[in-house]
């Protein structure tokens, strides 16, 4: 009985998800024709990066319950790896993207191995420390690795980072309209990431992730392999995060230690929390809301970070399930109220089970 109703719930939501996805794709295709301003389009590309990173953090924490704070470190690792492959081996950016993502994945697997015996806040502390150590080692790197002209260049690029190692090729292809080309690429990246994430979340592996999150002891007792599942989720999320890092470096034609700063990590956490932890559309909703709020707060200038901090704290206190959770509550409330909902108890059960 329960199995039947939850099964129905999932298929019902799959239909809804497909509709949402089609509407979003249609919107994404028409967007470059509607938006004239380069600034706005540039901000939208940036927002797509945030949404991609947040969706992978959501996979790691929201769905699998692994509170990793190394998300931006993995993103930076992918970006740096891509930039360094281009810079030191003279490869085309497109050829360096996948190796960069794989490097980020390997890094993440090592982090995952170190975290394997830990739970909860211990994972958070260790990953935060790893990210900080990476930042410090890059910023304090002053030893010359190669000489570029008369300028000394450190192996990690030091506090300046890497620039001018190539781009996505849109400038030569589309000339003045290159930003639209980059937008199309990043939007495709985001779409592919979301589709893959959806498949993972709905697959048996995704159920194993969730089981481990809800009750590790029971999940293990029922035969879920924690070692395998945890490494898998670290690997999957890191591949897409690292890939996004590579595209980020290629889009801005630069990568520096700034992406490792605490405020960037907080922005990603804020996006996921405001949108809704553990909900598939949460990171996207969170990105739209927070990027808009951020743009509005730009008027307030220096109060931006202050406002962001307060938004994080307030939204976790007022709506622990995020905006998507609140919308879900509202929809359920309205359905229960409306006379149409004289449906069978089965369907009501399906709705509440969701």
């Amino acid at each position: 009985m329960t199995k039947l109703s939850t099964g129905k719930g999932i298929s019902g939501s799959a239909k809804l998800d497909a509709v949402i996805a089609l509407v979003l794709i249609a919107a994404a295709v028409t967007l470059p024709f509607m938006v004239e301003s380069r600034y706005i389009l540039g901000q939208i590309v940036l927002a797509l990066f945030y949404a991609t990173i947040a969706s992978q953090w959501n996979l790691l924490f929201g769905f699998s319950g692994i509170f990793s704070l190394a998300q931006m470190a993995i993103f930076a690792f992918g970006g740096y790896a891509t930039a360094m492959i281009c810079f030191y081996f003279g490869l085309n950016v497109w050829a360096a993207l996948v190796p960069g993502a794989i490097a980020a994945m390997v890094f993440s697997l090592v982090v995952g191995l170190a975290c394997l015996r830990l739970t909860g806040v211990y994972v958070a502390l260790l990953t935060l420390a790893i990210a900080q150590a990476m930042y410090l080692l890059i910023v304090t790197d002053t030893e010359c690795f190669v000489m570029v002209g008369s300028i000394c260049r450190q192996f990690t690029g030091g506090a300046v980072g890497f620039a001018r190692f190539g781009d996505l090729g849109m400038r030569t292809l589309l000339k003045g309209q290159w930003l639209v080309g980059n937008y199309a690429i990043i939007a495709t990246l985001f779409t592919v990431t979301m589709i893959f994430t959806y498949v993972v979340v709905k697959s048996p592996i995704g159920l194993a992730f969730r089981a481990l999150k809800d009750d590790p002891a029971y999940a293990i007792a029922r035969g879920v392999n924690r070692f395998q599942a945890q490494l898998l989720v670290f690997g999957i999320s890191a591949f897409f995060t690292g890939l996004a890092g590579g595209f980020y470096a290629a889009h801005f034609q630069a990568i520096g230690p700034g992406v490792l700063s605490m405020s960037q990590l907080m922005f990603i956490i804020a996006i996921t929390v405001v949108g809704g932890l553990g909900s598939f559309w949460g990171p996207l909703v969170g990105t739209i809301v927070l990027v808009l709020a951020d743009e509005l707060m730009r008027e307030a200038g220096e109060f931006r970070t202050l406002g962001l901090g307060i938004i994080i704290a307030l939204s976790i206190v007022l709506m622990p399930k995020g905006l998507v959770g609140r919308i879900g509550d509202l929809v359920r409330f309205l359905r229960r109220r409306s006379p149409r909902s004289a449906m069978g108890p089965q369907e009501n059960a399906a709705l509440t089970a969701k």
Partner: protein, 295 residues
Amino acid sequence: MLDIFVSIIVAGLTTGALYALATVGLSLVWGSMGMLNMAHAAMLTLGGYVAFTASTSLGLPIGLGFLAAIVAGAVAGGLLYVLIVSNLLRHDKSTFESNVMIATVGIGIALENAILLTYGGQPLKQPLSVSGALVIGPVTLPYQNILIVAVVLVLMAIVALLLGKTRMGRAIRATAQNRDAAQLLGVAVNRVYFQVLVLSGALAGVCGVMVSSMTQLSPPLGNDPMLKAFIMCVVAGLGNLPGAITAAFGLALLEAFVQFVAGARWGFPSLLFVVIAVLIWRPSGLFGRAQIRRM
């Protein structure tokens, strides 16, 4: 040779004392409430700046400046309970651990930024510091370092007495051991939470004054000690006070030694390496006890 050795020891002991103070504040809150206070760094910074304002703008004597920092930290801790923690405790208990962490991250950013907006980003000199040094033969001991170690030892003794001898301390320890049992036996658990956060805030205030007297006042002042304190908590096992103090001094000495031998930039990564090694060997910390969970 001897003077180099002594200066490493002095530097290690002084930073160890500071780390111990930061660690105890964190560990106390974790041990009794299961709450990781990410706003601890900002509370540290707040203490340092309040002491600065009290003794420069208001011209209060040094003792009162110190007191102001303690009061500011305690008030911040109290507000944190009233505004955030008490509300989060009403939600689902299973999500409290991660929710409170994210919420305090937000509060920490907001507080640090508020300090930046009020005082500006340029480093300021902490007036609550003493100059001069005690010279014994080839060994030089700055008074500031002696003062820090002394103050920390006194505070540790006070905290130990509070926890060991008073009614409040018994309630805190009971809550830490078993929250539900304590509540059944009539301990007002919510009041205990409030007291613990106020106490930890006050300790953070003092710690902020001490840290800034060794370096300078700047808005991200508390971040470095807090990150190190996290590491020490993890090594010792979260919530274990004597273990935390031991780990703080031990790791600070190690850091000072590595910084001298291999250069300042390897201090932190070497600490990290130790932590990872310890965690792989003993996942609940050196002094932590593995918990057996019933299903």
